[in-house]
Symmetry: C2
Subunit: 384 residues, 2 copies
């Protein structure tokens, strides 16, 4: 564990103390019940459709939260870097997928990892397939990532020669095995036409599967994004779903309609260090290095870096009057506070902040405190 | 040290290998010569004016870089949290100042730290002064932070009753000692009227000093922000200057005119994982968890998350044709590449990215690699 353990009082007696008594400095609090409910709901939905859920673990990045996921039948997870995959390896996952265009400078590390853990990677060009074919000394499967409109990365379904050459390169190695096609339709995060985008992605995957199934009879198709997987009820012929953020959700997902504020499973507990009642502002120890700098725009055009919740011994409640973080710098956050909040708050109190982007907040904080006062791990530095 | 050491090849022979051979994954590279030149220039300027330089160490957050600073006569530093002060303590600093409105939940920790290291804190309200007076068991000095227009935090010079009550509370404790007045004129980061803002801050400090010097004959005034300290040549009667970012500088400071790109002392080395020549895009492993999400707006209105530099065995060069990171997600960055860059680049190559906000990038990365292949420490997790 990290030196950040010094945040917490070392001799915590769960029978007499609340988790709140452990918090002196900014601390990421996790509600296990909400996390489990999010996992269970998605697992049930995907299972009922006869598909496999392979959640993207870049959100939680945790071994302990992985043990919760396994209770809902989840057997594989996805990492976004080789270091995160290393952190999650040896924990009983049937396979760990690294959902990032593979970085060929990391092949020696991949060989070491694949000697101990079943691993799949993602390939988006011939150069990478060629280097893997040349240098792999352990079996590694690969997905070809398709770009069905997001425009960040991936082979376009029309790039047939490129795809053929990837298969051609892979065939040179007995260690490099084609597993299937993967699409991350990240454009659903722009909040428009989730149905249409998912439909197009499903069709692209179905066409590729139909085309290549005779050559690769075990190939699977995987589609993953939280807005689509949370909002939609059917996924066509896609075999596997890979959303990540749903484990915790966040304000961005609330804005997209994927969840409500009550589904958000983590909040940053922050100490109040000053109150300016004249300006209706509360200054907190909690800034960009804690929350990250993701931001939403409120209806009135103002910026929102996080929503205030009220912490209590059993978790937190969402106040009926909105207060939010209106600006942040490296360590400071300024809350635009409701009259109700101002009336009840004092310097030295703790407030909770629901994050705009929980994956980034968890990555900043590198660990969680549960409501029963336990430290929950996060890969942190390892993921970089 | 952190587990991130696994990024680097373990058996590095400095006589035969370049630091570049150690880099397989995103790595923050530091040019010691540029860092030292930045330290020396600021130290010389401040010394020539007969003032004391107390740099804000939230940028470097490093013990090793602290040893470089000491060679230029720097004897005190500033931290932005108690955990950062803990990390920097015991390294021979005459005093460490925690430049953040003190969080009274951390008083037990402050007592432990102050037993070993001379510490000053910052006070912006009566409640905090009262709690410190009540609970301190070790000597701690305090600055009163003034708000001379930035509007983030601090006592306004007109709030005389509040200030008197802070002094009154402090007088109840033999451990709590008034040290002076502090202003962080952060509005200079908005790029306007640096001279006017600094002038007003200097005047506010001078007035407060004149008013209270008879009661506190040792009181000092401190002013700190990188744009002001870098751009201006005179600081009136202010006793101490406390800029931070100047140690590394970054693209934001270039935009503000505080430095040129050649003065930026750190760059993120990133592996190229895909190239889309049709779109003039290069996909890198390097995203929000590495660079942070600070962004500048280019002249044409496009977003800029970092500028490309070309890495070589001795450091990096700034290309004559601009390429920049136009979008980032958690792990991905997309570079809008010049024709010249596209013509020379291959999958698996490394590029350097000059950060928009070096303090945040260093905090994300939690360590540096020097050009002679040495690991340079960073407090990282400790700072949160």
């Amino acid at each position: 564990m990290k030196t950040k353990d010094s945040f917490y009082i070392r001799f915590f007696n769960p029978f007499t103390m609340s988790y709140l008594d452990q918090i002196a400095s900014p601390t990421l609090v996790i509600d296990e019940k909400i996390t489990r409910a999010n996992l269970e709901k998605m697992a049930d939905k995907v299972q009922a459709l006869g598909k496999k859920l392979v959640p993207h673990w870049k959100t939680a990045q945790s071994r302990i939260i992985g043990t919760w996921a396994k209770e809902y039948g989840i057997k594989e997870v996805t990492a976004s870097s080789i270091s995160m995959a290393e952190y999650l390896s040896g924990q009983g996952w049937e396979c760990i997928h690294i959902a990032f265009p593979f970085n060929i400078r990391e092949i020696p590390r991949l060989n070491r990892l694949a000697a101990q853990q079943r691993i799949s990677v993602q390939v988006v060009n011939v150069a990478t397939a060629g280097a893997l074919a040349e240098e792999l000394t352990e079996t590694v499967e690969f997905f070809v990532e398709l770009d069905a409109g997001y425009g960040r990365t991936g082979i376009q379904p029309t790039e047939k020669a490129e795809l053929e050459e990837i298969f051609n390169q892979a065939s040179r190695s007995k260690f490099l095995k084609f597993k299937g096609f993967y699409i991350h339709p990240g454009q659903t995060y722009h909040g428009k036409e989730v149905d249409k985008i998912h439909q197009e992605s499903q069709e692209a995957l179905a066409q590729m599967k139909a085309k290549y199934l005779h050559r690769y009879p075990n190939l699977v198709t995987r589609l993953g994004d939280t807005p689509g997987c949370a909002l939609r009820e059917e996924f066509g012929e896609v075999d596997e779903l890979g959303p990540g953020n749903f484990v915790f959700f966040d304000l961005m997902q609330v804005q997209l309609g994927s969840c409500t504020k009550k589904d958000i499973a983590v909040c940053l507990a922050v100490p109040v260090v000053d109150i300016r009642r004249d300006r209706k502002e509360i200054l907190i120890h909690g800034g960009g290095i804690h929350l990250a700098k993701d931001v939403l725009i409120n209806e009135d055009g103002s910026k929102n870096f996080g929503a205030v919740v009220l912490l209590h011994d059993k978790g937190w409640t969402i106040p009926s009057h909105s207060s939010f973080v209106k600006s942040i710098s490296q360590e400071h956050g300024i809350i635009q506070a409701s009259e109700e909040l101002l009336a009840s708050i004092q310097v030295g109190d703790l407030l909770g902040i629901l994050p705009v982007h929980s994956c980034m907040t968890a990555d900043c904080m590198g660990g969680y405190l549960s409501l029963d006062g336990q430290r929950i791990d996060h890969a942190e530095g390892l993921s970089k």
